[in-house]
Amino acid sequence: MSTAFPKAAKVALGMPQLRSNLAHATGAIRAKRTDVAGELDDWEELRSTAAAVKADVQHRLPELALEFERNARAAGARVHWARDAAEANRIAARITCEAGADEVVKVKSMATQEIELNEHFEAEGLAAWETDLAELIVQLAEDRPSHILVPAIHYNRTEIREIFNERMPDAPSDLTDDPAALAEAARLHLRRRFLSAKVAVSGANFAIAESGALVVVESEGNGRMCLTMPETLISVVGIEKLLPRFDDLEVFMQLLPRSSTGERMNPYTSVWTGATEGDGPEDVHIILLDNGRSGVLADEVGRQALSCIRCSACLNVCPVYERTGGHAYGHVYPGPIGAILAPQLEPGEHDDLPYASSLCGACYEVCPVKINIPEVLVHLRRQGPHGAGERAVMGAAQRVMARPRLWRAALRAARFLSRPWRGRGHVRRLPWPGSKWTGSRDMSVPPRLSFRDWWKERER
């Protein structure tokens, strides 16, 4: 079994600036989300409806995917199917080359992060430029995103100013760490990219089966620039993003902004259906991406992870994420949703992530599509593998607990053996593996008289 998470978490816990940045940022979004979700009387009904729509999509996925393909084609889009990351990247690179381009501008997209499109393009001698402010910061820093929605959440503005000064060639020499000044510097930098790009790459928040339309929800307007200015548009869309009807957006557009940024409404929502002559890109491609999703779909308990709309509310409330940040998870999807999605998308990998949770349930409480994350975590833990030592301990404990007489004898033995510590009331240090506990907490000592003794005494 992998021990990557506990190790990486330990490193992250040793970085006080990171912890303070994370606690500050997640705390602020958390409070905003609670406020705006509380404004809607029918919040719980919206959540239930969204969960039902997503469950319906999962039941009818093949049918809806074909309906989407048919309608998108009829509207002038070219639809490609990609079994995995490599296939999706090959298709995207080929389209870019055929358009006579050697660079693309990008809308923030988790699907392209997942398939590592930027890295693939670089290997092919193509350049992919992120245009979302936070993604730009992360790309300039040659770092990886640490949050689904706020990829640069691990940086504060002073650190961002340093990144711009050192790595953005056209950064003004007198750049301050004022957020407006930082945004203006990025805006001027990006404007040149938008004006010269021939090809854009996006993901999509929703894909509407009945019309073949795609929907992108964003805050900065960089997405709108990418989606309208270049001649060629390539959208990489996970097949779970389908919604049956345009009207379903009514539900999701109330849930998504409130759950993600804590806003009632996001600033920019772009909807496009195929290609329209004289209006936006005329060479429109959609890559429908599987990359492990059909495998997840086959698992009746685990498939609810495919309902995720990437709002990241679960990250912001997670006490584990708040302390470790996203990098510790070692996957593009961090936090509670990553802990159930990563091991399912890549079976056999990330098998320590289902344990990166105290099962406190805060994630389930806020999830706008009601993914029962604790349930799936436990479900994945049941698939193992479990270490031999642990299996032995768990098996022995079960054998004792399954036999009341043996259990009572074990408790008597524990009371007897712990006598030397009873005076103090607790044990300060135990040998391994008990040291895992006593590293930071004292251990209680069994009492002289158990409840059972007391009960027997009283019955006499």
Partner: protein, 236 residues
């Protein structure tokens, strides 16, 4: 439903006898007859949540054997009650899970009592444990019972809904993260200046108490952990 099966939980069986004694005191004070089935051991939560489904199923069957005859089974643990109610239907079927009540649920919903006639002239801060609050939906039931206690002064715990970091085997498998969560819980608890930190689960209290007792060696005025049932049992 005057006869109640008391499920004390394995943690209390091994370490904390005062809590189930307190439950007996409170229930008898209200006129209930309390039985303690000797064959009880563990609800199976540790095995179930660590991924050992078959082991958990065996323990759930044992629970059913010990408590099958009771209409109401009361336990002073939010997480064990949640285990029985949420996971037993899947593990062993049948309706026994639905007959398991956490103490405050039983007192408020079944017995219809807020005031159990206790007196506890101390300052207390209350930590709502995760499984009790979220999985079981206890809401503020334990707090409602505490508010009715004579002489008590309740002090709000900052960031109450933040997990203490226990999480069963999580405390061992991800000991560093768990400890970081514990540090924050202990700091918030100590900041209240309360004499006691109360909660509805001794497994969480074992964790928080283990952190607080360490903190108590460094500074004075750190709250002592206490199960809220023990407050309810204090003499009027």
């Amino acid at each position: 439903m005057n006869r109640i099966g008391l499920f004390i939980t394995c943690v209390n069986d091994a370490l904390y006898p005062e809590t189930p004694k307190a439950v007996v005191t409170v229930l008898e004070r209200l006129g209930y007859e309390v039985d303690f089935p000797q064959a009880q051991t563990c609800c199976g939560q540790m095995h179930a949540n660590s991924g050992y489904r078959d082991h958990a199923t065996g323990l759930a069957r044992g629970f059913e054997r010990a408590f099958g005859e009771y209409e109401a089974i009361v336990t002073p643990s939010g997480s064990c009650a949640a285990m029985a109610r949420d996971q037993y239907p899947d593990l062993i079927g049948g309706g026994i899970g639905a007959r398991v009540y956490e103490l405050s649920e039983f007192l408020i919903d079944q017995a219809g009592v807020d005031d159990v006639g206790a007196r506890f002239p101390h300052t207390v801060t209350y930590h709502p444990t995760c499984h009790g609050t979220r999985a079981l939906g206890l809401g503020d039931k334990p707090l409602r019972l505490l508010r009715a206690v004579g002489g008590i002064e309740l002090i709000d715990l900052p960031e109450p809904d933040q997990c203490c970091g226990f999480g069963g085997t999580f405390a061992l498998k991800n000991a560093e993260v768990s400890s970081a969560m514990l540090d924050d819980k202990c700091r918030n608890a100590a900041g209240t200046g309360a004499e006691y930190l109360a909660a509805a689960d001794n497994s969480c209290l074992s964790h928080i108490g283990g952190g607080l007792s360490r903190a108590a060696r460094a500074s004075r005025g750190v709250p002592k952990p206490i199960h809220y049932a023990e407050i309810l049992a204090s003499a009027p």
